[in-house]
Amino acid sequence: MNFTVIMQQLFGGMGASLLIFVLTLLFSMPLGLLVAFGRMSKFKPLQYIIKFFIAILRGTPLMLQLLVVFFGPYYMFGISMPRWYRFGAVIIGFSINYAAYFAEIYRSGIESIPVGQYEAASVLGYNKNQTFFKIIFPQMVKRVLPPVTNEVITLVKDTSLAFVLTYEEMFTVAKQIAAAQTNIMPLFVAGVFYFIFNAVVAFVMERIEKKLSYYR
């Protein structure tokens, strides 16, 4: 295997990692909001069920959750899943896990908005939806940005956990090549990749934070 082939394979791995990252954010961020609503529901049973699931998702390793999502259908119900399910399980596992984290972040953000904001909106005649989407949500976004940034940076590194399902993302590929070639270089390239990826994430999040700093 020559250098170009190695690099090609590594680039393929990078693409796969990026795809996990983007799809996970795309699904987990809105899903987290729904979960947060459930967690804050006035309907107690729903609130407790959601609380229970969040506890499980945050209290057990993501790696184990990925294995359960992937092997669960067959081991528990005898359903054999199609080939694409390797990728599907990665995305489902990551999205659900991250939704649990985002939900708790959103909830704390929403609960930190002073009750006076709701009261002012109520007296002006805003209904529940208008109050949430016009008044509460934009302020929540600003408040949760720092913890969300932390989660997003963790996600960049967590994408490597997809290796337990031998999904060919960056880390899996780098490890395979390194083992086959008895060469440390691929792992080094992987490290540089994650580092640069996170630098970009940090830069983008900082820009967003700046954009929202026009008010306190």
Binding site: G116, G125, Y215, R216
Partner: protein, 253 residues
Amino acid sequence: MKVLEINHCNKSFGDNEVLKDISLSVSEGQVVSIIGPSGSGKSTLLRCATMLETMDGGDLIYLGDYAAKADAEGKAVYSDKETLQGIKKHFGLVFQNFNLFPHYSVMKNITEPPILIGKRNKEEVYAEARELLKKMGLSDKENAYPCELSGGQQQRVSIARALAMKPKILFFDEPTSALDPELTGEILKVIKDLAAEHMTMVIVTHEMSFARDVSNHVIFMDGGVIVEEGDPKELINNPKQERTKAFLSRFQQ
């Protein structure tokens, strides 16, 4: 014409009976001040009137429309959501701590409610908002954000925001209590000007001289009941009830 009528209002928080059989009515153009010691239920009364709290018992009536009506046992039964939303258009509330929307500019704070809730024409609302800001002496602040304003300026914006909805009655809950003493004057002047224009207002205040000079009716509350009410000069200069005397003498020291 009665703008607001409250009959036999009762309100408890748990075992704590905060309002006991309160009745009051406000006619068009009337300025009513509510005074009384801390914890006497003044804010709770305003919050019941503005439907931020639900009354346990009694009637709440705006311009003849029932927001809540007492049933045979006296329990307050509220009208359906749609009716209540319609009644909300009749009143505005100015909070002690302003509660402006921090992510909106001054202009948007004032114009969004009439456009979004009042479904009114945008240009018209903007033109009116500029007039209101001029009246409040804030013409140069329309693009500022609340965090860039002093407390007194923020409170004037919040008064403009309430007025932009063209309420028939405006409630104030201690509008100057969160302000530095040197800023209270500018707010009191705005309210005085509104009184001169015959805006119907109910004002909870600790500023006795202001209550005496601006309002045409004063209510003294203590322990969740109206102890004494009447002409401002008469009540503040010559209170009849012992509790009123005690409260006012404590105040004048």
